[in-house]
């Protein structure tokens, strides 16, 4: 059981929660994740650590509502208890002084970038954070990333703020103008794929935090199989970070779609049973 201590709606589909997790917060490192089960009938889903506060004994999670579990979690209130939180899972992101680093967060991905970026900054890197959205009102986490970044680059599809275009355009510009030694991307697979494609011609080491479907998160089931450099690996125990230039993106995206039909059915079932809490 993990109690929700604070909750903040960041955007129509993004909710930040602070949860009580005294033990996990003492061990967790940036880049790791937890496996969460909302309630007694719940599915186990992975969520990255957006804040790690060992002194307070808390963790921060940012949840993008896309299906039943994320919606259930987003509908929970301060004081409610999440049935199960296990972790910290996976390996931490390797923090070193790489020089000039560019960090790209898409969707929920800007949130777990916070502890990673902060640690990279403390390790001596020059940190450029790059975030994007369709339009300025959908932009999140700019202020938070600004707390430690040397600069935060913004791109919007409609040009309502920052560069008109995609985060990859902003990344390309940064590489061309100032040079970048190391890149990390967290977000939807398609975004991480295009970030990797952008850095490939420049041969810049690019880390991506892969998000395959998981069950246990401990290496017991193999649901999270990904192919990296032609080798099958487990996203949960070998990752979640991998070299973006070696990832088989087609496979990752295909496997993410395994349960589309079932997820649709589950969502319909959830909405007709739980309208009150879903609209909270």
């Amino acid at each position: 059981m993990a109690k929700i201590l604070e909750k903040q709606v960041l955007r129509f589909d993004l909710v930040a929660v602070k949860i009580e997790a005294p033990e996990i917060s003492k061990k967790a490192k940036p880049g790791q994740f937890v496996i969460v089960r909302a309630d007694e009938v719940g599915e186990r889903i992975p969520l990255s650590l957006a804040r790690i506060s060992p002194e307070e004994g808390t963790l921060g999670l940012v949840i993008q509502t896309i299906g039943v579990t994320s919606s259930k979690l987003a509908a929970m209130d301060v004081g409610d208890e999440i049935s199960d939180v296990a972790g910290p899972m996976g390996h931490a992101t390797p923090i070193e002084n790489y020089g000039k680093v560019a960090l790209l967060g898409g969707g929920f991905g800007a949130a777990p970038m916070y502890p990673i970026g902060k640690a990279l900054k403390e390790a001596g890197n020059t940190v450029t954070s790059i975030i994007g959205a369709r339009s300025v009102d959908l932009l999140v986490y700019e202020k938070e990333l600004g707390e430690f970044s040397d600069k935060v680059l913004v791109s919007t599809d409609d040009g309502s703020k920052g560069l008109k275009g995609l985060v990859t355009d902003a990344l390309k510009q940064e590489i061309e103008e100032n040079g970048v030694d190391w890149v990390m991307a967290i977000g939807p697979a398609i975004m991480m794929k295009f970030v990797s494609l952008t850095t490939k011609p420049y041969n810049i080491k690019t880390f991506v935090s892969l998000n395959p479907i998981m069950v246990d998160g401990t290496g017991m089931c193999g649901a999270c199989r990904v192919s990296v450099g032609g080798k099958t690996m487990f996203g949960c125990t070998d990752g979640p970070d991998f070299d973006g230039h070696l990832v088989d993106w087609g496979l990752l995206m295909a496997r993410q779609r395994t349960y589309l039909e079932e997820e649709k059915l589950a969502m319909e079932n959830y909405l007709c049973n739980c309208v009150p809490s879903a609209t909270k």
Binding site: V41, S83, A86, C221, A266
Partner: protein, 480 residues
């Protein structure tokens, strides 16, 4: 309590009943293929008394030699014969703490029952069914596994038990009864190990596992779920935090794949994933439970052990029209329990023996078939079994939409990688002496993490030995 009427069998009657074992009622083969309820229904009192009377109580007690933990078999059967079922259960528990589980899942035909004197001419005594009967009787009559134990005097020693499978359950139970303060750490959200995530409901009802777990809780064991040792705490940290001894019973939970083309297509599952989704996560009750599973119409399961049988029969219950069991050796070498093979055949599982997959065929990312090659048996290999060799040019494709790989499991690296000084063998399993002592002082191990994937009774037996050794280890600390 039910009135127990003892019938004195005459010589003639005894002669007659000794020929064939008492049948255990079962769910009808067609009906059960559509539900997840237990297949074998267990003996009633009359059945049990009849079966107990079949035992000749021979002096040699060969059956006991066949039991990995040397359950006093004739003695417990004698108590059953006398109608003292609770006494029978107690007798078994002197050696085997998990009779309700073992009565259901032990490979009796290759252990105790294979040596039964009756088996020379007739069918062996159904020892497993009697074991199950007394354990169920005890559970239903309130004498739960740890029911009558008085609270022992606390010793002040703290023991950490990692993993809640049969090995961990036994260690925790034994040590708690001796007055040690036991904390159990389980990676998953529910305790029970393979007994909850792997072995299906239709073979081992989860209520039985839960009663074992409740039993150790009642003894004061603190069960910490969602605690992955190696991630949340390392073993060294547990010791620093004041645990006087540690037992590792983390099982052999790493799924193996075949490394054939197409293995990552959508619709290819490891048996662990397929069974975990179904059993632990209750995907068969989706969408009432949130976890989905692909309910294949045509399913191929690769492998021939208990895991493969469980996966095949689970696929059937999820609604498959055809389930193929693809195994590279022949019927004789099938390592699964006889009863499971028998049940699988009855339920209509299509056995493709002497057949080995070479490729999973896909279309747009999804499984469409499994290409197999026929095999023949050649010379015996190191294991003494005849080695299967492919017959050139015999490839053919079975059209399926789901493939479940059940070819075995290995050692999960999380604990080894986070525990300096813990010796491993070349397969990555923990090296431990007969009493479970590892290369690290105060750290013991047992069950599948030491032996590789084995059986419930071996894990339980290893747990008992380790518990004794841990107790001795702790008590010697007092003296010094």
């Amino acid at each position: 309590m039910t009135e127990i009427k003892i019938h004195e069998y005459t010589k003639e009657e005894l002669k007659a009943i000794r020929k064939t074992r008492t049948k255990m009622p079962e769910q009808d083969a067609v009906a059960r293929g559509k539900n997840f309820e237990e297949v074998a229904l267990g003996y009633n009192i009359e059945d049990a008394l009849r079966e107990a009377n079949r035992c000749m109580f021979c002096a040699k007690k060969l059956c006991v030699n066949g039991c990995p933990v040397e359950v006093p078999i004739p003695e417990f059967i004698k108590l059953v014969k006398e109608g003292d079922f609770l006494g029978g259960a107690k007798k078994i528990k002197e050696k085997n703490p998990l009779p309700a589980v073992c009565g259901r899942v032990c490979p009796q035909e290759s252990q105790c029952e294979s040596l039964c004197t009756l088996a020379k001419k007739n069918e062996p005594v159904a020892i497993g069914r009697l074991e199950r009967f007394v354990a169920d009787y005890e559970r239903m009559h309130g004498g739960g596994s740890n029911g009558e134990v008085d609270k022992p005097k606390p010793t002040g020693f703290k023991v950490a038990v990692i993993g809640s499978g049969p090995a961990g359950l036994v260690v925790a139970s034994d040590l708690a009864k001796l007055g040690h303060d036991v904390t159990m750490f389980e990676a998953l959200h529910k305790a029970g190990g393979v007994l909850v995530y792997g072995i299906p409901e239709f073979r081992l009802p989860k209520a039985i596992v839960q009663s074992e777990v409740d039993g150790i809780k009642a003894l004061g064991v603190d069960i910490k779920a969602n605690s992955v040792i190696g991630k949340l705490h390392t073993i060294d940290e547990l010791i620093e935090a004041g645990f006087d001894a540690v037992f590792i019973g983390s099982g052999a939970g790493l799924p193996m794949f075949m490394n054939i083309p197409g293995e990552n297509l959508n619709g290819v599952y490891s048996a662990n994933e397929f069974l975990t989704r179904t059993n632990l996560m209750k995907a068969y009750l989706f969408p009432e439970f949130d976890t989905p599973i692909k309910k294949g119409a045509h399913v191929a399961v690769v492998g021939g052990g208990n895991v493969a049988m469980d996966a095949a029969r689970t696929a059937l219950r999820l609604g498959a029209e055809n389930v193929y069991l693809v195994y590279r050796r022949s019927m004789e070498e099938l390592p699964a329990r006889q009863e499971e093979v028998h049940h699988a055949i009855e339920e209509g599982i299509d056995f493709r023996l002497l057949t080995n997959p070479v490729e999973v065929i896909g279309e747009e990312g999804w499984v469409r078939g499994i290409k197999c090659i026929k095999m023949e048996l050649g010379e015996p290999d190191e294991s003494g079994r005849r080695r299967p060799v492919p017959i050139e040019g015999s490839e053919y494709t079975i059209e399926v939409d789901t493939v479940v790989i059940a070819i075995g499991t290995g050692s999960n690296p999380i604990i080894p990688d986070s525990t300096p000084g813990l010796d491993l063998n070349k397969w990555g399993y923990i090296v431990a002496g007969d009493n479970g002592q590892t290369s690290k002082p105060g750290v013991f191990a047992g069950g599948d993490i030491v032996t590789g994937a084995a059986t419930v009774i071996l894990a339980a037996g290893a747990g008992r030995k380790a518990a004794n050794a841990i107790h001795e280890y702790l008590m010697s600390k007092v003296k010094n």
